[in-house]
C-alpha cells in the first residue's frame, strides 16, 4: 500500500459527496452531480496535488440509502452472546451474498472505508437528524477509521447546524467541519484539511504542504484576476477613436463601433477571468455567476444598468444617443482635463507633446475624438469587482444562480468602501494617466504596466 493518505468520502445519499470532491479537487467535471438519490453508483478516486507531489487521495463513494435495514442485517449476523469487534462484523457482512445484492451500495462504501486511513462523513445540514443517520454512523464506526463529519449546505437558512453538532457530539464525534460546497467560506478548505490533519497525525506534513500550496495558488490567482480587470480599465480609459467627418451619421456609426468594441473588450476580460478560475464559457456551472452564458445580462450602455449599479452618468455625455461615450466636439480633443494632462506630463513629456500636437492638428482639420465615458469605466470596475467576489467565494459545485444583492438597488450606503469609492469618488490616478496615453490600448509599454499594477491595488479590498 502506498504511503499517501487515503480518505473515503462517505455519507447518506444526496448530501453532496461528489460536489465536495469537485470543490476540493478544482475539477468541475469530476463524477456526476444532480439533486437525486444514487447519482454516484461507483467508487472513484482522485489525488489532490501539493504543487508537484500527491498529498492525499480522496475516494467518492455511493450514498448510503438503507442504513436501518443494513444495521438490522448485520446485527442478525452476530449470534447472541458472541462478542466480535466492529471491523470483524463489517467483514462478516461483506462476505454475505446480500453485500452484492440488496446492500450493494453500502458494501462499496464499507469496503472503501476499510481500505482507507480515514473517512469524511458528509452531512446535508438541512436534513433533520434521524435515527437512520445514527445507524449509518454506527455502521461506519464499525470500520474503526477516524471519521470527520463535514456539514454541507450550512449557508442555507434551513441548515440545522447546531442540531447536527449536538447529535454528532453525542456519538463521540467532536471534530466537525462546516464546509458548504456551494458557497464555501474563504478559509473553509483550509479548516477542513487542518482538522483532518489533527485526526491523522502521521500525514500532517503532506497536508501542511497541501494547505500551503493551495494558499499560494489562491493568492496568485487573486492578483492575476485583479490585474486582468485593471488592464481592461486602463485600455478602455486610454481608448480614443478619431472621427474624421463632420456629419452626424458618421458620428453615430463611430459611437456604435466604439460601444461594440468596448463590449467586446469587457467580454474578453470576463472570458479570461472565467478561464483563470476554470469556468469554461459554455460550462453549465458558470450559471452560478452573475452572468448568463458567460455574459452580463445588462447592456453596458443602457442607462438603466448604470442606475442599478448606482453610478451617475456624467452630465455632458448623458445627452442624446451617445450616452456612455465622451465626445470632444468643440475642441478637437483638447479637453483632457488638468489631472490627465498632469499625469501625462509625469509619464512622458515627449509623448505628451506628441499627442497634443496631434490633437491640435485634429482640431485644425475638424476631427472629433471619442472616449469611453467615466461612468462606463466606473460601471465596468464595479461589476467586474462583483464578478471577482463571486468567483472568489464560491465552489465548483454550485448549480443555482446567485441573487445579485437581492432586489435592492445598491445606493452606495451599505457596501464596502472600495465599491463606494469606485461609485462616487475620484477615478484612480492611473486611469487619469491612461486617458493621456492612447498607445496604451496596444500595450507594450512599461509605464502602462506600472499603471495596471497601481490600478490593481485600487481594486483590492
Amino acid at each position: 500500500m502506498s504511503d499517501i493518505l487515503r480518505v473515503a468520502v462517505v455519507g447518506h445519499t444526496n448530501t453532496g459527496k461528489t460536489s465536495l470532491l469537485r470543490t476540493l479537487a478544482r475539477d468541475a467535471g469530476f463524477g456526476e452531480v444532480s439533486d437525486a438519490a444514487g447519482t454516484t453508483r461507483h467508487v472513484e478516486g482522485l489525488r489532490l496535488m501539493a504543487d508537484d507531489s500527491p498529498a492525499v487521495e480522496l475516494y467518492d463513494t455511493p450514498g448510503m440509502e438503507d442504513a436501518i435495514g443494513l444495521l438490522e442485517f448485520i446485527d442478525e449476523l452476530v449470534a447472541a452472546g458472541e462478542r466480535i469487534d466492529g471491523p470483524e462484523r463489517v467483514e462478516r457482512f461483506l462476505a454475505t451474498a446480500e453485500a452484492g445484492a440488496r446492500f450493494e451500495q453500502e458494501a462499496k462504501v464499507l469496503r472503501q472505508l476499510l481500505a482507507s486511513d480515514a473517512g469524511l462523513y458528509v452531512v446535508d445540514a438541512r436534513d433533520p437528524v434521524l435515527p437512520k443517520h445514527r445507524d449509518e454512523l454506527a455502521i461506519l464506526a464499525g470500520c474503526a477509521r477516524p471519521l470527520l463529519p463535514v456539514l454541507n449546505f450550512v449557508a442555507s437558512p434551513a441548515a440545522r447546524t447546531s442540531d447536527w453538532r449536538e447529535a454528532l457530539a453525542r456519538l463521540g464525534l467532536h471534530a466537525v467541519v462546516s464546509f458548504d460546497t456551494v458557497a464555501p467560506a474563504l478559509d473553509g478548505e483550509r479548516t477542513l484539511i487542518e482538522t483532518l490533519a489533527t485526526l491523522i497525525h502521521a500525514h500532517r506534513p503532506a497536508l501542511a504542504r497541501l494547505i500551503e500550496a493551495r494558499a499560494r495558488e489562491a493568492d496568485e490567482r487573486r492578483v492575476a484576476a485583479r490585474r486582468l480587470v485593471a488592464e481592461l480599465l486602463v485600455e478602455l480609459a486610454a481608448r480614443r477613436d478619431v472621427v474624421a467627418e463632420r456629419g452626424d451619421d458618421e458620428l453615430r456609426s463611430a459611437v456604435a463601433r466604439m460601444r461594440e468594441a468596448v463590449r467586446r473588450r469587457e467580454q474578453a476580460c470576463v472570458d479570461a477571468l472565467l478561464r483563470l478560475y476554470r469556468f469554461r464559457p459554455d460550462d453549465a456551472r458558470a450559471a452560478e455567476l452573475p452572468l448568463t452564458d458567460g455574459r452580463w445580462d445588462d447592456d453596458l450602455f443602457n442607462p438603466e444598468t448604470l442606475r442599478q449599479m448606482g453610478v451617475r452618468l456624467s452630465t455632458g455625455a448623458a445627452a442624446g444617443a451617445a450616452a456612455g461615450v465622451g465626445i470632444d466636439l468643440m475642441t478637437g480633443g483638447l479637453t483632457l482635463g488638468a489631472a490627465a494632462a498632469l499625469g501625462a506630463v509625469a509619464g512622458s513629456l515627449w509623448q505628451t507633446f506628441g499627442h497634443y500636437g496631434e490633437r491640435i492638428a485634429a482640431k485644425l482639420t475638424g476631427q472629433r475624438e471619442l472616449t469611453v465615458d467615466d461612468a462606463i469605466l466606473r460601471l465596468i470596475a464595479l461589476r467586474q469587482r462583483m464578478l471577482l467576489t463571486a468567483l472568489e467565494g464560491r465552489g465548483h459545485a454550485a448549480m443555482a444562480p446567485i441573487e445579485l444583492g437581492g432586489e435592492g438597488i445598491p445606493d452606495g450606503s451599505d457596501d464596502d468602501p472600495v465599491s463606494a469609492r469606485w461609485r462616487k469618488g475620484d477615478l484612480p490616478w492611473a486611469l487619469e494617466k491612461a486617458r493621456a496615453h492612447p498607445e496604451w490600448v496596444q500595450g507594450d509599454d512599461e509605464d502602462r504596466d506600472e499603471a495596471i499594477e497601481e490600478l490593481a491595488d485600487e481594486l483590492a479590498d
Binding site: E57, A67, R102, P128, A224, A272, R275, D444, E446
Partner: protein
C-alpha cells in the same frame, strides 16, 4: 525534441516572458505537445512554465531570436570595449600632446579624470535618489539601458525579435536588475577607457620627452604644492612617487628638466590616474556585476501574472483523477415490489415517516376542514423499533386507507421507499403525503418522491401534496 545550446536561466525566463506577452495579446498558442513534455517532468510550476516556453519558443522562432540577440549584445559589448580602449588611448595622446610643449599637470589630470569624476558623481546621486523613491525609470536601467535596448533591437528587425526588448525590459525592471546590469557594463567600459588612457600615458611617457609645468596668474605657488601633495597621498600608499615641494615650486617657473623631477611628475600623474580613475571603476564594476549575478540567480517569474496563473492548473493540476476503482452494478438494488394487498381493512390510519421535528404530528387539519374522525394515528416512524411495531400492528389490523406522511424536503432513499412498499402491502389503499411547512420551498424533491413511488409500483396519483387533499382522501374521498 532535442534543442541546441541550452539557455541560461536569464534567457529561459526572458523567453517565457516573450511567450506570455504574445499569449496575453494574441490568445493562447497551441501547446499540447509542449504541455505534455512540461507535465512529464517532476518540477515546480516555474520550471514547467520555462520548459513549455522553451518548446513553444523553439517552434515559433523566439528561442533563436533570443540566442541571436544575446550574441549580438555580446558583439556590441566587445565593440564598445574596443572603442573605450581606443578613446582612452586617444585622450591620453590628446592630453599629453606631441612633446613640443611642456605638459600642464593640472590640465592633464583634469582632462583625464574630469568627465569620469563628473559622471561617477551623477551616477552615485542617481542611485541614492532611486534608493529612496520608487523611481521606476532608474530600476529599468535609465536612459542608457533604453538606448542599448533600442540599439540592439534596431539591428534585428525580424518579427520574431519584435517583442524581445519589451519582454526583457519588463523582466529586468523588477528588483533593479537592469540598473545593476547597466551599471556594471558602464563602469566596466569606463574602467577600460581609463585603463586605455593609463596605458597611453605610460607608452607616451616611455617614448617621448615631456616637460611638466603648472601655471597661474593669481594663485600662490603654495596652493599647487599642497594640491600635489594632497592628491599624492593615496597613490603614495601604493608606492607612486610624489614630487617634493622644491620640484613643484621649480615647475612653476618653467618645465623641469632634471630626470628625477620628470620621473616624479610622471609617477604622480600615472598614480592619480590609476588610483582615482581605474581602480574605483573596476571596484564598482565588480560590485555591480556581483549584484547583477545575485539578482539574476534570484530572478523568478511573477507567477501571479494572468498569463502564468492561467497555466497553473494546466501545468500543475490541483488534482489527478485515479479512475473508477469499484464500478457501478449493472442494476441498482430496488426495494421489494408490493405484493398482494389485504382485501378487507379496518379504520383509516395515518403514519409519519422520518418527518422533520419542525412539522407538527399529528397533523393540524383545522385549516383544511377540521379533525378527521375515525382514524388511527400510528405515530412517527423513525427508528428500527418504531418501524417494526408499525408493521406488526398493520399486519394484525390492516387499515382500509393508509396515509403515509413524508418530509418533502428529504431525498427519498431506498430505505424509506422500501418501508413505504412494506406498509402499502399491509393496507387496502395507500397514499403518500409529501408534507411541507407552509411557505417553505422543497418543490424540487416532490418530483423525486413521485418518481420513487412510481418505481415502487404505486399509482401515479399516489402522491398528495396538499393538506386538504390528504384529509379529503382520508374521509373516503376520491
Amino acid at each position: 525534441m532535442t534543442l541546441p545550446a541550452s539557455l541560461t536561466p536569464l534567457e529561459a525566463r526572458w523567453l517565457a516572458e516573450v511567450v506570455r506577452r504574445h499569449e496575453e495579446r494574441h490568445g493562447p498558442l497551441e501547446d499540447s505537445a509542449a504541455l505534455a513534455a512540461a507535465r512529464g517532468e517532476r518540477a515546480d510550476l516555474e520550471r514547467r512554465i520555462l520548459r513549455r516556453a522553451d518548446l513553444l519558443g523553439a517552434r515559433e522562432g523566439w528561442r533563436d531570436a533570443v540566442l541571436r540577440w544575446h550574441g549580438r549584445a555580446r558583439l556590441g559589448l566587445l565593440a564598445g570595449a574596443i572603442l573605450a580602449l581606443l578613446l582612452g588611448f586617444g585622450a591620453a595622446a590628446g592630453v599629453l600632446g606631441d612633446g613640443s610643449r611642456p605638459v600642464n599637470v593640472v590640465w592633464a589630470l583634469g582632462g583625464l579624470l574630469g568627465v569620469h569624476l563628473a559622471s561617477l558623481l551623477l551616477w552615485l546621486l542617481g542611485m541614492a535618489l532611486a534608493g529612496r523613491g520608487r523611481a521606476a525609470s532608474a530600476g529599468r536601467g535609465g536612459l542608457a539601458g533604453r538606448l542599448w535596448l533600442r540599439l540592439v533591437s534596431a539591428l534585428d528587425r525580424s518579427t520574431a525579435a519584435a517583442d524581445l526588448p519589451a519582454a526583457l525590459a519588463g523582466l529586468l525592471g523588477r528588483g533593479r536588475l537592469a540598473a545593476w546590469g547597466v551599471a556594471a557594463v558602464s563602469h566596466g567600459l569606463w574602467a577600460l577607457a581609463l585603463g586605455g588612457a593609463a596605458a597611453g600615458v605610460l607608452l607616451l611617457l616611455a617614448t617621448r620627452r615631456y616637460g611638466f609645468v603648472w601655471e597661474t596668474t593669481i594663485l600662490p605657488a603654495q596652493a599647487f604644492v599642497s594640491l600635489v601633495k594632497a592628491l599624492g597621498v593615496l597613490p603614495a600608499v601604493f608606492g607612486f612617487p610624489v614630487p617634493d615641494a622644491a620640484t613643484v615650486v621649480a615647475s612653476g617657473d618653467g618645465a623641469v628638466t632634471s630626470e628625477a623631477g620628470r620621473r616624479a611628475w610622471s609617477g604622480w600623474l600615472l598614480g592619480c590616474l590609476l588610483v582615482y580613475g581605474v581602480v574605483p571603476r573596476l571596484v564598482l564594476a565588480a560590485a555591480c556585476a556581483g549584484l547583477w549575478q545575485r539578482s539574476v540567480r534570484r530572478l523568478a517569474l511573477d507567477l501571479s501574472r494572468a498569463g502564468y496563473a492561467r497555466l497553473r492548473f494546466r501545468l500543475l493540476p490541483a488534482s489527478e483523477r485515479l479512475g473508477v476503482s469499484d464500478p457501478a452494478p449493472g442494476a441498482m438494488p430496488r426495494p421489494h415490489r408490493p405484493g398482494a394487498h389485504p382485501a378487507e381493512g379496518e379504520a383509516a390510519a395515518l403514519v409519519a415517516l422520518e418527518l422533520g421535528d419542525d412539522l407538527r404530528w399529528p397533523p393540524d387539519f383545522d385549516a383544511a376542514g377540521g379533525e378527521v374522525v375515525d382514524t388511527v394515528d400510528a405515530g412517527r416512524l423513525d427508528s428500527r423499533e418504531q418501524r417494526r411495531a408499525a408493521l406488526v400492528r398493520f399486519q394484525a389490523h390492516p387499515p382500509r386507507r393508509l396515509l403515509i406522511a413524508v418530509d418533502a424536503r428529504l431525498t427519498p432513499d431506498r430505505g424509506s421507499l422500501g418501508l413505504i412498499g412494506e406498509l402499502a402491502d399491509r393496507a387496502v389503499q395507500t397514499r403518500v403525503w409529501a408534507m411541507r411547512s407552509p411557505g417553505a420551498g422543497g418543490d424540487e424533491r416532490v418530483a423525486l418522491w413521485r418518481d420513487g413511488l412510481l418505481r415502487l409500483g404505486l399509482a401515479a396519483d399516489g402522491l398528495i401534496s396538499e393538506a386538504a387533499a390528504a384529509r379529503a382522501w382520508l374521509e373516503e374521498g376520491p
